[in-house]
Symmetry: none
Subunit: 426 residues, 2 copies
């Protein structure tokens, strides 16, 4: 079965933006057994989108169009689809009422222009958008299903999932590609590949065959395992075996196999232990606290955080003795340790974290160049402290600092002897 993904929006035809919706859509379609044979980004012109739709109708069993459903004249998806399918556009007052209510809930009046979002090619099914004003639309034309979804990913993704579950999966008739993502931190890409390749290279000959892709991102490596199976149970059985084989060589470096980010993994470890955490951050500037508090329910275990850029605030907020800073410098392991213990004890929390470093671009010295970061974690009597040398610009140093601190805490909580991040290549 063949699929086509079309994104509408001139902004994705600039040198500054790529269409990322299509990656999520491809993943979902692959799971249903659809093969994506074409994806395209079209400008906000009815003609081009109409031409693409006409072409895809000759060969695709499903066409997913994202974007171009907003209220302005630029939003041409509805017109293009109606033209190609020779359908009139009607105004659906139920949609208009729903959009009006959404404005009212925010204390606003719906501008008249938003009525455009109520236009529906006759016979289309309206797909609810819980996160925005633009409804989606579902149409069928011959053997082809046409799905129109809004462009913003937070609106598109839940609507896509609903359409996949309720409409596309029943048509697909079961079977497809299933994926599992193992997330790893504390190892380099070549290090992970050296350990994992002897394991996964055998799988392409296995039944069912599993294909493996390594994807390196900042402070993190992902192993994507993909298996073609008749159903989720068959896929899970094969992927479980594969995962165990990788765990045998990568061990505790794998922090997640269910999609959870590191902050959620650490949060669950804290909650499971009924522990609270307090963090004192200098160079990471609040990013660790912000990532920890991205997790729903984190107010249960995040007691407090302080961002102490100035030496004075390190002393006032985390109780770091001024003499210690004078002796070792603000970026030093003793200061990181004093921050971790100081913030923990002031907060009456179980766990303390201290991060102090040089995020750049200024502030580096020959001794302590930009990217030098000292991190300490303190849990009860156990204290771990380590100095890292991170590469990259300011935002990357901040991210890696938060990532390393969470991984140090994860490993300490798991009371394991695994090497801290990044490990020396073995």
């Amino acid at each position: 079965m063949n699929a086509c993904i079309l994104a509408v929006g001139s902004e994705m035809l600039t040198p500054f933006r790529v269409d990322t919706n299509s990656l999520i859509i491809t993943e979902r379609l692959n799971q249903l057994g659809y093969d994506v044979r074409l994806k395209a980004v079209a400008a906000d012109h009815v003609d081009e989108l109409a031409r693409l739709l006409e072409g895809a109708l000759t060969w695709a069993e499903v066409i997913i169009v994202t974007g171009g459903l907003g209220p302005t004249e630029d939003d041409i998806t509805r017109e293009a689809v109606a033209r190609v399918l020779h359908l009139p556009l009607d105004i659906d007052e139920t949609i208009v009422d729903r959009i009006r209510e959404r404005f009212v809930r925010r204390g606003l009046t719906m501008p008249e222009i938003n009525r455009r979002q109520g236009m529906v090619p006759r016979g289309a099914t309206v797909l609810a958008n819980p996160n925005g004003t633009a409804p989606g639309l579902w149409l069928e034309h011959g053997r082809t299903a046409i799905v129109l979804l809004p462009g913003p990913p937070r609106e598109m993704t839940p609507m896509l999932d609903a359409v996949v579950r309720d409409r596309l999966a029943p048509r697909a008739g079961g079977g497809g590609l299933f994926r599992r993502v193992l997330k790893i931190t504390g190892r380099t890409e070549s290090d992970v590949d050296a350990a994992a390749a002897p394991v996964y290279s055998k799988w392409s000959e296995a039944a069912p065959p599993i294909s493996t892709t390594i994807l390196a991102a900042l402070g993190q490596i992902e192993l994507h395992l993909t298996v073609k199976a008749a159903n989720a149970a068959e896929a899970d059985a094969a992927l479980d075996v594969a995962q165990r084989e990788l765990e045998a060589v990568l061990g505790i470096a794998i922090y997640s196999s269910d999609g959870r980010p590191l902050e959620a993994v650490v949060g669950h470890l804290l909650r499971d232990r009924s522990m609270t955490i307090a963090v004192a951050e200098s160079c990471s500037g609040g990013l660790l606290a912000s990532r920890l508090t991205d997790v729903p329910g984190s107010s249960e275990y995040v007691e407090r955080g302080v961002v102490c850029y100035s030496n004075r605030s390190k002393t006032e907020l985390a109780g770091v003795p001024a003499a210690l800073i004078a002796e070792h410098g603000a970026v030093s392991e003793p200061v990181a340790e004093a921050m971790a213990i100081g913030i923990r004890d002031r907060a009456g929390a179980n766990v303390g974290v201290g991060i102090t470093g040089i995020a750049g671009p200024g502030g580096g010295t020959p001794d302590k160049p930009v990217g030098t970061v000292a991190i300490a974690v303190a849990v009860g009597e156990a204290v771990r402290v380590r100095t890292f040398q991170f590469l990259g610009p300011r935002d990357m140093v901040k991210f890696q600092s938060a990532q390393a601190a969470m991984n140090m805490l994860r490993l300490l909580l798991l009371k394991q002897d695994a090497p801290f991040w990044p490990a020396k290549a073995s």
Copy 2:
């Protein structure tokens, strides 16, 4: 002049890869004055690529195809082009000899299959590839130039630059597209469009014509102005006039016209005034501090931040009287104000910000549903406090809280009476 960019390769139709060649190509084409109206990624099938080429030939002055020039059966670009242009494919023995020599230099024998890379649609001009075996090809068909380039970026980019310099620039006749991005916060998309459309809709008829795209992101609207001009000075002159016209209707809601994010704009306002800032965050969980400290040099003005999730930490870190919390609740304007003033005075800073709210998904009540956020900013005697109702999941509430707080501070520093964010629709 219109351009189309086509990438060939099934690997770019997986969930893991995006085509990034097209961003570089778009940049080069824009500089020559070409408007990219369509880009697409096609699987390794002759039919689909042929269909895309046929469509683009009807409207594009230049079509750039990347990939599909390798030696295997999967590499179908040459066949597709020859079919669409009704040209026979000849073997160019000069190309084959060059490829054979390349193998010999590496001590290898050229596999017979590589002869395929010597296939040339009759009449095409061969473009040298200094970094690989696949030569590029240049064809003209009516008014359309068709450029075939290899897929690997390190082979594609130098060949693109040579083709731009030697062949496309002379055809383009000088001039190009120039862009300016106006960033706006505190207004909804429809509100901005209602104010701006009467202004920008006239520009398509102006000399030089300016096209305008509205892009809505979370807590932010962007107006992208694009003008075709002979050179940067001419473009700037036109864009300056356009910007002034938009400023007349949008005023202070425009916070940036030079690419700077809101945190940099606020940071520069603080630095210009030699002011320091201290922030106390509850529901935003450190995101405001983290965004403020994303700006290089922010250590000059960010004195400290505290993340005070618990009531106890609000009292201990920001000096909020426990009685005030008991009387009004932790999520209330009096507590936000006490946080702003408390953290400012404890830090000895000039500016204080307090944010307290319900990020969700739990914690909402009928009175104070998820998304209720009270924000206060205090600068000297001036204090502004406001309660917002943000939509969306936890991370979006956090982002909008930080965005609104920075905008309140920006407006207060600019001593303007503009409405705070989000404004009532006018």
